[in-house]
């Protein structure tokens, strides 16, 4: 540790000032915009925003999809992470590589694939019509299901990674021990695995939930204007309606959610040390 404070500040401050001027200041002004009116400070931006049915729908839909995606990712994530953690070290490394591989690919590319799968002439519709289950192609794109699938595929690796690292902390013998002592798999999961991995679940859940909440590309491509989420609504408010007060309200909602999630993650990280 060096104690020359002036030298240290000279090194650290350029980055901090850059972030402050280019980031915190403009975002702060944007957030304050909803509170200003000709008559001074006001909350009417917020009350107006939440009084519109469309905005309520979009707000609730965004939360709902966030919870559904995080919940489903947790269920599949536990099954996958548990299976992966039982593999031999070499196989585990390879499968782990395949799980994180999608994270390096552009979200545009990953979302675009779902158009091929769910489109009018996509794989699913071809199969449905071919098998005689549907007379004409059904609309799968621009539905909540499409957005749900896209988000799930986008963020599931984060859940699996978090759960896998939590499972490393389960002592090897506790599960066989619980089994020998008469616990069924249901009990093993809820009494042994879950308590020992709940930190990983919270970390993964928070990452997936905030990821889904603040996603733009997936709802834009797979939901369009039929299935708006908060980010696509924000884009529309600015580019179509020129409504910067609503945009500012949405920005505030997104930042509060993201900030809370980050506080939670930070607390878990410090509790661990």
């Amino acid at each position: 540790m060096f104690s020359n404070t002036r030298e240290g500040l000279a090194l650290a401050l350029p980055a901090a000032i850059f972030a402050l001027l280019l980031f915190i200041l403009p975002v702060g002004i944007l957030l304050s915009e909803a509170f200003q009116s000709d008559a001074g400070w006001t909350l009417s931006g917020y009350t107006d925003f939440f009084s519109k049915p469309l905005n309520q729908t979009v707000f609730l839909r965004t939360l709902k999809l966030g919870v559904l995606v995080a919940g489903t990712a947790a269920v599949i994530g536990y099954a996958a992470a548990f299976s992966i953690s039982n593999l031999s070290p070499v196989a585990r490394g390879r499968v782990f590589g395949l799980v994180i591989l999608p994270l390096m690919i552009s979200p545009v590319a990953r979302t675009y694939a779902w158009i091929v799968i769910l489109g009018r002439t996509g794989i699913v519709n071809d199969a449905l019509v071919g098998l005689g289950l549907a007379d004409t192609p059904i609309r799968l794109l621009f539905t909540e299901t499409a957005v749900f699938l896209g988000l799930l595929q986008l963020f599931m690796p984060l859940m699996i990674i978090s759960l896998l690292s939590a499972m490393e902390n389960i002592p090897r013998d506790v599960i066989p021990a619980a089994r020998v002592l008469g616990a069924n798999w249901f009990q093993v999961f809820f009494r042994v695995i879950l308590p020992l991995t709940k930190e990983g679940l919270v970390v993964g859940g928070t990452l997936v939930f905030t990821g889904a909440l603040t996603a733009y590309i997936t709802p834009a491509i797979l939901g369009g204007s039929k299935v708006l989420m908060l980010e696509t609504l924000l884009y529309q408010q600015v580019n179509v309606s020129n409504d910067f007060v609503s945009a500012s309200v949405i920005a505030m909602i997104l930042i509060i959610m993201s900030f809370t999630a980050n506080l939670l993650l930070k607390r878990i990280a410090t509790a661990r040390k």
């Binding site: 500040l9 980055a15 850059f18 972030a19 975002v27 593999l87 499968v95 595929q153 733009y216 930042i255």
Partner: protein, 258 residues
């Protein structure tokens, strides 16, 4: 039996995660006019056509430039900051850390909008400059974090010894510290590059005539046509990212920094 169930679960999960990517590769290799899977015959025509689309070429150059220079700028700001936060007792270190990390917490679309409203329009800054600033800010938290973690692993008595032996602080940094954190810096560069290159929300509002990042250009192109060229381009870009990460992993065990 238990093994079989395990592999079935892993297999299904991997199909869900990677299957769409494989579909994209083949959909882009279609010989037909429209996007379909299975493709109507195989050909490389769409993979080749991508290179002849002028707007893709322009936006590719812009995205490359932003990713390279934005990340370099973030490292120029981030390395000294990470060093100071690790090695000096600073007043308000926690505040500085939070401020520098803030771009990770604020959703990108908000940053783009804020910069457009309060920098590009009132200060008459060009969109390209705003994009450069935004991408630098976006990569800064990663640069600080990755470089910090590699500084953490480097004992500070080495540079103290160098100073005692007559180096100036700067020489101690360039001759002792920098060579030792080279891997971390390179990892930060790669992580920053991939993050910046694939970034959409920040750049959404920051586009002007002839100035669009590649992912934004692809989104715009998708709205006009459904031909397989976007699939082909997506596959090419994915291969590029994977190649970079693969080489990085081979050279320096990239994954331990992320």
């Amino acid at each position: 039996m238990k093994n079989l169930t395990s592999w079935a679960i892993i297999g299904l999960t991997l199909i869900f995660l990677i299957g769409p990517f494989i579909i994209i590769i083949f959909a882009g290799a279609s010989a037909g006019e429209s996007l379909a899977f299975p493709p109507d015959g195989l050909s490389l025509r769409w993979y080749l056509k991508v290179f002849t689309i002028e707007s893709f070429r322009q936006s590719f150059v812009l995205s490359m430039g932003l990713a390279i220079f934005g990340t370099l700028a973030a490292l120029l700001l981030g390395i000294p900051a990470a060093y100071a936060l690790n090695r000096y007792e600073l007043p308000g270190a926690e505040t500085i850390r939070t401020v520098v990390a803030s771009p990770i917490i604020v959703p990108g679309i908000i940053v783009g909008l804020a910069l457009l409203r309060y920098m590009v329009i009132p200060l008459d800054v060009t969109v390209t400059v705003a994009l450069f600033m935004a991408h630098t800010a976006l990569v800064l938290p990663y640069a600080v974090r990755v470089v910090s973690s590699s500084l953490n692993n480097l004992r500070s008595d080495m540079e103290e010894a160098a100073v005692l032996l007559g180096c100036t602080r700067l020489q101690a940094f360039t001759k002792v510290v920098l060579p030792n954190i080279r891997g971390g810096v390179l990892a930060a560069f790669i992580l920053g590059f991939v993050t910046s290159f694939n970034q959409v929300p920040v750049s959404l509002f920051l586009s002007g005539p002839g100035v669009r990042t590649l992912p934004i250009d692809m989104l715009a192109y998708m709205e006009i046509t459904y031909d397989p060229s976007v699939a082909a381009l997506s596959a090419l870009l994915a291969f590029m990212s994977l190649a970079i990460v693969f080489i990085a992993e081979r050279l320096l065990g990239f994954s331990r920094y992320v």
